[in-house]
C-alpha cells in the first residue's frame, strides 16, 4: 500500500483542496470522525502556514502502514524563508497561536509524530503522522 497524492498550495482555495484530499485519505484508511477532523485541522494549519509565509508550497498525503498499524503521513514542504528559531515556533503561546492553540504546536498535538526540517532562506519540510488506534 503506497498511495501518494498531493496538492500545490498557491492560493487560499488550495487549503480547502488539501483538506479535502486529507479527509478522503483519512476516511479511506478508516479513521473515525474525530480523528478525521483532527487530521484535517492539522493539514489546514500546515497549508495555511505555507500560504501565509512561503506563498508557494506543497502538501503531500500518503497512506502508510507498519505491521498491523495503519496511518496517514502528511508532508508539507515549501521553498519559503524557513524558520529562524524553531524552538520558539514550537513554543506554546507564541505569536502565531496567541493562545488559540493553533500554529505548529497545535499540529504536533493533533498528530502522533511530528518532524520539522528547516533552513533559513531555503525552505521548510514538515512531516506529521497519525496512527490509527
Amino acid at each position: 500500500m503506497n498511495l501518494r497524492s498531493s496538492v500545490d498550495i498557491i492560493s487560499e482555495w488550495d487549503i480547502v483542496a488539501a483538506r479535502q484530499l486529507g479527509r478522503n485519505e483519512a476516511k479511506d484508511v478508516g479513521f473515525g470522525t474525530v480523528d478525521q477532523a483532527r487530521i484535517t485541522t492539522a493539514i489546514s494549519e500546515l497549508a495555511r502556514n505555507i500560504y501565509l509565509y512561503a506563498e508557494k508550497g506543497n502538501i503531500e498525503i500518503k497512506q502508510i502502514s507498519e505491521g498491523n498499524l495503519k496511518g496517514l503521513l502528511v508532508i508539507a514542504s515549501d521553498k519559503g524563508p524557513g524558520i529562524a528559531d524553531v524552538r520558539k515556533a514550537m513554543e506554546d503561546g507564541y505569536t502565531t497561536s496567541g493562545g488559540l492553540g493553533a500554529g505548529l504546536p497545535g499540529v504536533k498535538r493533533l498528530m502522533d509524530d511530528f518532524k520539522i526540517e528547516t533552513v533559513v532562506d531555503e525552505g521548510t519540510v514538515i512531516t506529521a503522522t497519525k496512527w490509527m488506534r
Binding site: L100, G101, P105, L110
Partner: protein, 332 residues
Amino acid sequence: MPQEFKKQYKEILEKYILRQTEHNLYEGQNISRQLIQKNISPEEVISIHKASLEEIMSDLPEEVWHSFDLLIEVMVRYGLALKEHQTLIQKQQNIKMEMELAANVQQTLLKTKVPNLVDLDIGMISVPAKEMNGDYTHFLHDSTHVGIAVADVIGKGIPAALCMSMIKYGMDSLDGAETNPVIVLDVINRIVEKSVSDSMFISMFYGKYDTSKSEFTYASAGHEPPLFYCSESSSFSELQAKGLLLGVIPNVKYEQHSIALKKGDFVVMMTDGVTECRSKEGFIEQQTIMDIIENVKDQCAQEMVEYVFHKLEELQDFEQRDDFTLVIFKKV
C-alpha cells in the same frame, strides 16, 4: 478510553431526554468533571454524544447527524486551545517554583546576622513584595563598632535581586566595621558604577555606631532619610545627608554627619517601601508612621519594627506594593 464514559454518558442522556430534571442535569455536570480530569477533549465529547444519540434515537433525520460532524470540526480548535492552556499553566507553575528556589538562594546569600551589643538594641525586618527582595540590609561589627547598610534598588523582583548580590560582594570587600560611612559609599558607588547598566539606580544609607563614644555616624546615597527620635524632647527629626544615588557617576562627594545617642534615643532606618505605603486615601503621612513608632517606643527594637510592619500592613489592607525594610538602632 472514551469508551468507558460512553456508557455512562448514554445513560445520563437517555434519562435526560425522558425527563428534564435538575437532577439529571447535575449528573451531566459531574461527568464533565471526570471527562476533564481524563483529558477527554471537547470534540471527543461531541463524538460520544453523537454515538449515544445514534443508539437512543436512531431514526433521527440524516441532517441531524451531519450537523454533529460540523460541530466536531469546530470543536477541534477548542480542544487545542484547552491543551495549550494546560501546558501554559504547567509552565507557569514551574517558573513559580524556580522563583521560590531563587528566592531561597538569595536569602541564604544575603543573610546578615543582627549583632548583639550591650548598649545598643537592634531590630530588623525586611519583607519582599514579590518572591525576590530588592532591599538589602547588611551588618558589620567588631567589639566597638556596628556598621549598618540599608540599600534599595529602584525596581523590584529579579533584576533588583541580582543587583543586590553585587552590593553584597562590595560590602564583603570592606575591611571592617570601623570604616567610615563616606568611604563605604565611595567604594560601593565605584563598583556599582562600573558594573550596572545606566537604567538601574540604587539608593543606600550607611551608618556606623561607635560604642566607645555612643556616636552614630552616617552618610547617604540618595536614600530615604532615617528618623531620629530624641527621648529627652520626645520628638522626631530626619537625619539628612546629601549624596547622589549609587552608580550614576564614579566620583561622588558624600556628606557625613554624626549624632550622639543618649539612653532611650533611637534611629529608624528604612526603605521607601515604608514611607511610600499607601492606604485607600493615598500615601500614609510621615506623621502617621512617627505616631505608630512612638506608640511602642518603650518596647525592644525587634518588637518595634515588627509592630510597625503589621500596623502599616493593616493600613494598606494587607496589600504590600514594595519591598519593606525597617531597622531600628536604640540606645539602652
